[in-house]
Symmetry: C2
Subunit: 334 residues, 2 copies
């Protein structure tokens, strides 16, 4: 569990895109973002107050989050100076970089001396149990995709926000590094050992109030041969009551797999639902989330209308047209 | 890769069942078993020549394999004496115990000093790649089960033996600790990190001759909520040409999951085959392997006949009636 709120470290980001983790935190959990820390030459700007470490400390920030990709995959000397100072000033550090904080002896030594915590969110910090399959109270929704990177995290976050605005009980449950940094907690599922994958998702989505929804961040795809095992564990560990089908209609092959075509939404539905019924016989497919970023407004609208007719399910692009339709569908079964 | 042949260490086994790993090695790879090492009070006997370390060394044994479960989950002082001596005598050690050899400082120190290797087959020793899904040469067969522990390993080993006897090209590919100790090589799939599961199976079953069959040891079940992710990774990483359905008809719930019923063979077929087609559109279900240990001969025969009629597939219990029918079915598509 990462202590919030955060000071968002943008370092010497070469452009706005390099700071997309920080952007995600600011977009989805603005209350977690006290300010931004930018070094000389930083080309990213989140529109937050620029703060030095003392100012951020005074403003209540507890953790410095590395919200930017590092160049060349290494933590530079210039970054190191700031990170060491942050530990000395009493901040914990949190990072989703491949280059782990815990692999830097100086950071480890200073963290130890100052009693601060280094969070590498790519690495599990919990000993997860083996899944027991027992029915838990509360409701759960899982986004499943025809492919990886079709908007599953965005869909779950957008629905979670809409549900909170309506006064529904909802928790976004992160299963990847960006989601974990956004919420301060979660399971880095792709780094969990095989035997404990489903158990980690049971742990992440425990017994809850009957009218509470866990909005579980999806990972991979049942149709992506590299990562389908992770998706399977989410479906069985999460024992979802509701599935949202996610799709990007313009993609001509599976991400990273040139020889593989995307399945249809019908194939996704007909594959995912029987598997979900193993863990939860009441599970329903409640809606479709389409990533229409490469379509004109006309194309997007007509594609969504066509999907609604074809599948008999509400369909929207939550980024472009909001997630209200999908939340209506959840509310109808909740 | 564990050096063969082995001296099989039976320690102070309280009964024959405690030595089932050693029994598996002797049954399936007798050429790997030079002799057995029994301590005072050992109640197991494989019918191999009893040897001390010097005799086994002279007979060519290269690795001492712990073929017995340890009492209380710890490596006792009495065992330790033999293991240290074995290292001093020039043996590597191999073990599938939960209590890892590498967690015993004295064994680590002696292994280092003598230049010997400690193999803990529960722990991956290879950095596996992420699966790329590329089509590989050669053919692959995977056993999938309605549940865990229904005879998938036995089925693959029995078919592999039958195929070798017929002069077919075949390799048993181990994915669990017992299988790895039997063959000296394999992937401990349940201990692999999620992102690399499918890639580890691609690594295990590489490009091969067109008429070569990899007989892949199955794990878990698509219908077992604790371990289904592992099974999924086998189906997509293994890109099987042939599936064998495995079943134990008398079980009244899924192993370790009292609330969960076993699926039918039809459900298994209809779930596994479309998923296998993602990685290999030519995949076929070729036969059924039934574990009839809790049925009389009459019951078993009539159950197998009924399955053959119902599914239109050859069905046998390879332990009781041999695996010839299943190998015939493979040969027909090979």
């Amino acid at each position: 569990m990462i202590q919030t709120p955060y000071l968002l470290f943008l370092g010497d980001a070469p452009d706005q895109l390099a700071a997309k983790v920080a952007q995600g935190i600011k977009d989805w959990r603005p209350d977690n973002a006290v300010g931004q820390y930018r070094m000389e030459g930083c080309k990213a700007d989140l529109g937050l107050t620029d703060m030095d470490l003392a100012q951020a400390k005074a403003a209540g920030a507890k953790t410095l989050v590395i919200g930017v990709a590092n160049r060349g995959g290494v933590i530079s000397k210039e970054w190191k100076k700031v990170l060491v100072m942050a530990l000395e000033e009493g901040f914990d550090l949190a990072s989703g970089l491949h280059n782990l904080l815990r692999d830097e002896p100086d950071l480890v030594a200073v963290a130890e001396a100052t009693g601060r915590v280094l969070h590498d969110v790519r690495v599990p910090e919990v000993e997860y149990p083996i899944a027991n399959g027992e029915k838990r109270g509360g409701k759960r929704c899982l986004a499943v995709g025809t492919d990886c990177s079709v908007g599953k995290m965005y869909t779950a976050l957008a629905m979670d926000r809409e549900m909170k605005e309506r006064g529904m009980k909802s928790s976004f449950r992160a299963t990847g590094q960006t989601g974990i940094l956004i919420t301060g907690d979660g399971v880095p599922l792709d780094a969990v050992v095989a035997d404990f994958m489903a158990g980690s998702i049971e742990w992440l989505t425990p017994d809850n109030d009957d009218d509470h929804w866990d909005m579980i961040e999806g990972q991979g795809s049942l149709f992506h041969v590299s990562y389908s095992g992770v998706t399977m564990a989410l479906i069985h560990g999460g024992q979802p009551d509701a599935l949202i089908l996610c799709h990007e209609p313009t993609r001509d092959h599976m991400r990273g797999l040139p020889g593989y075509k995307l399945p249809s939404l019908e194939q996704l539905r007909d594959t995912a639902l029987p598997l979900a019924h193993v863990a939860n016989p009441a599970c329903q497919v409640v809606g479709v989330s389409v990533n229409t970023q490469h379509m004109s407004d006309d194309e997007a609208q007509s594609y969504l209308a066509e999907v609604e007719t074809r599948l008999g399910l509400p369909a929207t692009d939550p980024f472009r047209y909001g997630s209200a339709k999908l939340v209506d569908a959840l509310a109808a079964i909740g």
